[in-house]
Symmetry: C2
């Protein structure tokens, strides 16, 4: 499994992907599932994935190949981020259809991937897309500023409670770290390290990023403080009134 999430805020974007892949509990490996594309000062794109690692890697490889070979249409030449999302979707459909043909398997659900693409092209607003296994996509809005892929449920409550479009980047980044902490705590199939990337709106600079591993001092500090504070709040909440039960 995988957990990845991305948030589009007023002042920028925060992206995070774990790196655990597993096929059963015996085959556990570490693979990067977050990639960056772009041209400094002109366009920035961050692509995240969940699902079949073979499909996802083939898509990353094909997209990079098209850039390297300077094909007319690639992520560095598309006019809008929407076009880029469409390109990713089509590329994924091609990979999945090819895999099904090779496997001679009409079912082929094991080849399914999903993607999220966020970024900005000069002169246009920053955007974040969720690209479905069917190849189509939706865009994050002010009402719905974040998307998640994969093992998303454990980490959703904290984002639901604390992140809106107007949330400060620093706070949203911390909420996202704790969203990963909750998920890792409750689910074995999501694991460290986590690839974290922060993009500031209109900077058009390759975003800042960090691979957070088990020894990351800051991450461990806030996860400990968070965990302790949660337990403290719970203990300090008011006791239920007499005769509260039996009604």
């Amino acid at each position: 499994m995988t957990y990845c999430a991305a948030i589009r805020l007023k002042d920028g974007m925060v992206f995070a992907s774990d790196t655990r892949t597993n096929a059963g509990v015996d085959h556990i490996s570490t693979f990067r599932k977050l990639y960056q594309y772009g041209i400094e000062g002109e366009r920035v794109m961050v692509l995240q994935t969940a699902g079949s690692l073979a499909t996802s890697q083939a898509v990353f490889t094909k997209l990079q190949h098209d850039i390297d070979q300077r094909y007319e249409s690639n992520l560095n030449t598309v006019l809008t981020l929407f076009d880029a999302a469409q390109m990713v979707g089509e590329c994924m459909r091609n990979v999945m259809n090819h895999a099904k043909t090779v496997a001679n398997d009409d079912n082929g659900s094991q080849f399914t991937s999903s993607f999220m693409l966020g970024g900005q092209i000069k002169g246009q607003p920053p955007e974040l897309y969720m690209i479905y296994p069917e190849g189509n996509c939706i865009r994050a809005t002010k009402d719905t500023p974040f998307f998640q892929l994969g093992e998303s449920k454990y980490g959703k409550p904290i984002l639901d409670r604390s992140v809106t479009y107007d949330t400060d980047i620093q706070h949203a980044a911390r909420a996202l770290m704790l969203s990963f902490d909750s998920t890792i705590h409750s689910n074995l199939s999501v694991g460290m390290p986590i690839d974290f990337v922060i993009y500031k709106s209109d900077s058009l600079e390759t975003p800042e990023g960090r691979r957070i591993d088990e020894n990351d001092e800051y991450f461990n500090t806030i996860r400990r403080q968070w965990s302790k504070a949660l337990r403290n709040i719970l203990v300090e909440l008011p006791e239920y009134p007499d005769n509260y039960w039996n009604k």
Copy 2:
């Protein structure tokens, strides 16, 4: 969908079940999914369910019918709680098999239910069982003191963090309320009111219970305080150090 959970603690047990059922988003109804059985001073049982409402109701009905008709073997005559869990499992398998026969449908996944049974019989320790759709069951232990059914993921992190076998009943009950609050916040298919029941070990009294609805003053107080405190902690966590990113 449904969310229900039960915790077996050193000093007692806490049970909670929501009451929303849905078939699609158009058919939303309120149904009790938590029932009590027992004989004051001799045995106490709390039965919770998730899954096909038709199967669950048929099981509740059959179990009550066997008690009312004073059949030799019923929940009021079984010797152990393990026997009671087996009885529930067998009853559920019979109902599911019958439904499949009537429907002439070998697939029959739509008839599946799961149950949790907790309680105590005089002279024996309190026990909590999870009864799988296959009819077999597992028992909660000191290492794993709680079980969940249905839409369990949103509400699991808070239980993972705050509940152990030695947790005070009052604290565990509050954690369970907040676990429901998180789930309802993040998922439309789980809804109020919530049936809550608390049993004190060795009391052998019909447990105290309360149906918590949207207007419950205490529940609303702690959910507001919790939500506010969470946001405060998040804001008060230390900022990340300079140069934390770009590594």
